[in-house]
């Protein structure tokens, strides 16, 4: 299944250190199908113009192509608002500035978790420095959120920011329960869904979160573009953050008025080529049965995890139904970087390090892991090559 899909991805025709590429760093970024590359190239070669301004033909095509990305996002995720950002990080920063700065005051509580990516910790710490809000972190026990501690932390909270699916462990948090309890407690909910949207179809409206941030490049789209979905109510509470062209209605020397739709949060010329590319990726993804692929990949990841344990590795991912197909592991003596470098010499790409989640690493008592993350085009053969690659490393380091 994965092998036939690889034909859509030109990168798989190249060799890495003389070997066919086995790409298992999908949680960092996914590869791009030809249709995405072609769409971006098409924009530059045939429709290049700025958007939302001029009346000429190219400007019309550019605007239409770029806005099609937003339309597809709204349709696919069932959201009335999709603010286009540079990615998950900017989306979260946008919430902290456009919503946080106007709706949170000294002493207000924001609940985070120990499992967050740095991009969902640092913006809130920066806001806390400016406005003296209180940050409460829900602890992680045995790789899972302590939901009893969450309920304690929730008391008096105005906002809950939580990773939907962990980039380190692949664990899917009980977001439905979190949203329901947070709303009952009067708190808004921001989900970092960067690792979730590539693996599961999400109906934003039904899920009921107030904000959901994610990036295109983790779902076969281009780098440098992402989105913030916003509920109607939360949208009405947001104020413009960045000022400039495209986000205004009128500008006089005395003052300005702002657009009322998503454009009010998108100052300046947007990422037009990336919008074309992401639209192509979204269409390509909508032709894929995400659920059945997810089941297939989770099975592969579980097989890999079992064999890694047999080979003496510690596996930190639990890989239950719903979790992402991410296998994070360490070897008792071999440094993750040595491990990854020796795998790369065999054409196998994995990630090592703290995965931008240092607090979680501290909690697990380690400095980093080796992470193999699987995506749609990966198959059993990739897993077999990876496992043989591991054997070769173990032999070399024995």
């Amino acid at each position: 299944m994965g092998d036939s899909m690889k034909h859509d991805f030109p990168i798989f025709s190249r060799l890495i250190n003389g070997r066919p590429l086995v790409y298992l760093d999908n949680a960092a970024t996914t590869q791009k199908p030809s249709c995405v590359i072609d769409a971006m190239s098409h924009y530059y070669s045939s429709s290049n113009a700025n958007v939302h301004r001029a009346v000429h033909t190219l400007a019309g095509e550019a605007t239409e192509g770029y806005e099609r990305c937003r339309t597809l996002l709204k349709q696919m995720f069932n959201s009335n608002y999709a603010v286009i950002t540079s990615g998950t990080t900017e989306a979260i920063n946008l919430v902290s500035h456009a919503w946080g700065s106007h709706n949170l005051k000294a002493g207000d509580v924001v609940v985070l978790t120990e499992m967050e990516h740095h991009s969902d910790i640092v913006p809130w710490q920066m806001l806390a420095e400016k406005t003296a809000i209180e940050l409460r972190y829900v602890p992680v026990e045995n790789g899972e959120l302590d939901m009893d501690a969450f309920e304690v932390a929730l008391v008096g909270a105005k906002l809950v920011c939580m990773v939907h699916t962990s980039n380190v462990l692949g664990i899917r948090n009980p977001v439905e329960e979190v949203i329901s309890k947070s709303h009952s407690a009067g708190a808004r909910v921001l989900l970092d869904a960067a690792q979730a949207v590539p693996h599961e179809s999400i109906n934003f409206h039904e899920l009921g979160a107030d904000f959901m941030a994610f990036s295109a490049h983790k779902m076969c789209g281009p780098t440098g573009i992402g989105a913030l979905l916003v509920s109607d109510e939360a949208f009405s509470e947001m104020e413009p953050f960045m000022g400039g062209g495209d986000m205004i209605e009128t500008v006089t020397l005395e003052g300005s008025t702002y657009q009322t739709n998503e454009h009010r949060f998108e100052a300046g010329t947007p990422r037009i080529a990336e919008g074309f590319g992401w639209a192509a990726a979204l269409e390509w993804l909508s032709s894929v049965d995400l659920e059945s692929h997810h089941e297939r990949l989770l099975k592969i990841a579980n097989r890999v995890a079992d064999q890694l344990r047999e080979k003496g590795m510690t596996v930190y991912s639990s890989l239950r139904p719903g979790d992402a197909a991410v296998v994070s592991f360490t070897h008792p003596t071999i440094h993750p970087e040595d491990f990854a470098r020796l795998l790369d010499a065999q054409g196998i790409a994995v990630r090592t390090g703290h995965h931008c989640a240092q607090p979680l690493m501290q909690k697990l008592g380690i400095s980093g892991t080796i992470r193999a993350s699987f995506y749609l085009y990966n198959d059993d053969q990739d897993a077999d090559i990876f496992l043989s690659g591991i054997d070769r490393v173990l032999e070399a380091m024995a």
Binding site: H335, E337, D338, R341, A345, A396, M397
Partner: protein
């Protein structure tokens, strides 16, 4: 450019290797060449900054002769330190100052490493030359 014989031997050894895996194995073999700095002597002052793994380097100059002690938690980083040790240990201050870090590029060692690791190598190299200069 001509290199000291010990350095030229390393360059030749690496240039003869075609397989990347083998090249990294040889790099790790060089980790045995360090005069190991015991963990008890690791501190903030001798920590190599900009290196993704934990690496420490201490340089001592006795009677004008340079000697480095080092250690790292990743074997490949300690391998780089081993190569630096061969290039540096027993040399005069001037010989160490005359050395340029591009011998590692010529050997094809750095091409096979990530930029962060290459920067780590440069940082270690700069650290050694800085300490040698301070000893003058």
């Amino acid at each position: 450019m001509s290199w000291p014989k010990a350095v030229q031997d390393i360059i030749d050894e690496f240039q003869d290797i075609e397989d990347q895996f083998e090249r990294l194995e040889v790099l790790m073999d060089f980790s045995e060449e360090v005069d190991e700095l015991p963990v008890s002597e690791w501190n903030e002052n001798n920590l190599v900054k900009g290196c993704q793994s934990i690496a420490h380097v201490v340089v001592v100059v006795n009677d004008g002769i340079v000697h480095m002690k080092s250690a790292a938690d990743a074997k490949m980083v300690q391998g780089l330190q081993g190569i630096l040790s061969i290039a540096v240990n027993g040399s005069t201050i001037q010989q160490v100052l005359d050395l340029t870090p591009d011998f590692a590029e010529e050997a094809g060692i750095l091409n096979s490493l990530t930029p962060s690791r290459s920067n780590g190598f440069r940082t270690m190299f700069d650290m050694i030359q800085r300490e040698v200069r301070e000893a003058i």
